[in-house]
């Protein structure tokens, strides 16, 4: 027996996961898959479950920074076009984050503090109210784009979920996908058709109360929810010079949800290998020390600065930029493929950063028109 064999005997001490635990894990995965095939709700669920882990940004296969998940683009849109001048002068984009749904009543201690607009697959807007501090309680309201009834998803064992009968909401048909139950199920998901071809989901997690109390809470929140306000949500950044012709892909603002202040703006760049995302996360003062491996390979932590931009420590590579502590935020810009080629005509990721303004942590300075 050599040292590797000895190591292998150590492995046998590890417990074999029970089927029950594996089934639970599969259920969790399927719920995420079914409720959000694009991964938009992943940040919601994973962060809650994953405690203090700072989920790393994924950029063209490279994990690069802390705080939030970034967008990966999908195929299926027309190629990016520029007009031969700096992109800032060429492109006009509508407000990327518009409140298509708002909470009315919420349980004490909760207020809206997280927003997602996702256009990758099943298009929707989502607002989350998560308890501050170490609280686990949260409710999430999702308004889907007008169209057919959203996918129901799966239960454990890949059994398609079924509609569980529920009382109507403001006279509109409703059903449970997950129902609070007396066995201690503290989460729920309630869906209703609030207008013709218009569907909404309300999810609750970690709320206290009996199944009857949770049911009352769910209905009180659902009945007071408002749709169609379409107010642009203010964000802590402004970026000029985003290339024309991109499709808004995913925009996220966490203003205290999941214990962070962060914003992501992502665009579909017209091909499976084309990524483009801008994100900022409130800085905790950490400056990375990781050095790159081979191109396209994962980082092990935050990148070590190799230059300064606007006076801030920064790591710059052709397709990735990371700036520490710009007006209280860490900034990341990633681009690849066709969109990077277009960006390179106007100074690349560094040029885009030079055209970007981080508006700080004071909400009074934020803008509802963050792009171009």
């Amino acid at each position: 027996m050599n040292d590797l064999d000895l190591m292998r005997t150590m492995r046998t001490d590890a417990p074999i996961p029970s089927q029950q635990r594996l089934d639970t894990g599969e259920k969790r995965l399927l719920k995420v898959i079914s409720s959000d095939s694009s991964g938009a709700r992943r940040a919601v669920r994973t962060r809650r479950r994953f405690g203090g882990v700072r989920v790393m940004l994924l950029a063209g296969g490279a994990a690069a920074a802390a705080g939030v998940a970034i967008v990966a683009t999908q195929a299926g849109v027309s190629p990016v076009t520029l007009h031969g001048t700096p992109a800032a002068e060429a492109a006009k984009y509508s407000d990327p984050l518009v409140a298509r749904a708002t909470f009315g009543w919420l349980p004490r201690g909760l207020h809206a503090n997280g927003y997602v607009a996702d256009h990758q697959h099943e298009k929707f807007f989502q607002v989350t109210a998560q308890e501050g501090g170490k609280g686990e309680a949260s409710v999430t309201l999702t308004a889907y784009e007008r169209g057919k009834e959203p996918f129901l998803g799966y239960l454990p064992g890949k059994v398609p979920a079924k509609r569980i009968p529920a009382a109507s909401i403001n006279g509109h048909p409703a059903y449970w996908i997950y129902k609070p139950n007396p066995s201690g199920q503290s989460s729920f998901e309630l869906r209703w058709q609030y207008a013709p071809s218009s569907w909404a989901d309300l999810e609750g997690d970690g709320l206290s109360g009996s199944s009857a109390e949770l049911t009352r809470t769910a209905y009180k929140i659902a009945k007071s929810a408002k749709f169609g306000d379409d107010r642009p949500i203010e964000m802590p950044l402004h970026v000029g010079g985003v290339p024309a012709g991109l499709s808004p892909d995913r925009t996220v603002l966490n203003n205290g949800a999941y214990g962070e202040v962060s914003a992501i703006v992502g665009y579909n760049a017209g091909g499976p290998s084309s990524n483009f995302g801008i994100s900022i996360t409130k800085s905790n003062g950490t400056i990375g020390t990781a050095v790159p491996g081979k191109p396209g390979m994962p980082w092990k932590g935050l990148p070590r600065p190799n230059t300064k931009l606007k006076g801030h420590p920064a790591y710059v590579a052709p397709s990735l930029l990371y700036v520490y502590g710009d007006n209280g935020f860490d900034v990341q810009i990633t681009a690849s493929g066709a969109v990077l080629a277009k960006l390179n005509k106007t100074g690349g990721v560094v040029g885009l950063y030079q055209r970007m303004t981080v508006l700080g942590t004071d909400q009074a300075n934020w803008t509802p028109n963050p792009i171009n």
Binding site: R8, T12, L29, L58, K294
Partner: protein, 198 residues
Amino acid sequence: MTVTTRQGVSDAAVIEQSWQEPGAFAALYRRHAPHISRYVARRLGDDMADDVTAETFYRAFEKRRKYDLGRPDARPWLYGIAANVMAHYHRKETRMLRAFARSGADPVVQTYGGQLEGADDRIVAAGMHQALAAGLAGLSRAHREVLLLIAWADLSYEETAQALGISVGTVRSRLHRARKKIRAALGDGNPMTISDEG
């Protein structure tokens, strides 16, 4: 994608199917989660296994469109993602290993109550685990990843290289250095016959 494995449809085919039918991705979970979970439990303790495994598969699901369909076996890809997730716990892992090295009580066994598998070699080796823990605690993360992917995840050199995004030559050199340190930690009094491998 028509490549098949001993388990039937290849991982690559499952992943490709999940591009159109996201729920199909669950097949990949059923196939590999037991092994990933046990690997994580050995490294970080049973209490971390569920969350780290879940995060690994969530990340894999999100990245599935970038999977190289030319690789029928997704294990290296999944273990590579798991390594990234576990990187957040490097300090915790090192603390656990040091505690094990000091006390002789394996915190991994303690977290689930210690239903150990018995074998003669296993009994003999058990006495060496304390020293192995000390050796592992002293390894850099890069060296530890390579050693454990080979020893505990049963990946080949090539698969380990894929998982970590490094060359096979780097795998060999890191493994060589890691084993050298492990042997040093085992000391001259090692009753086992130490021989080189691979």
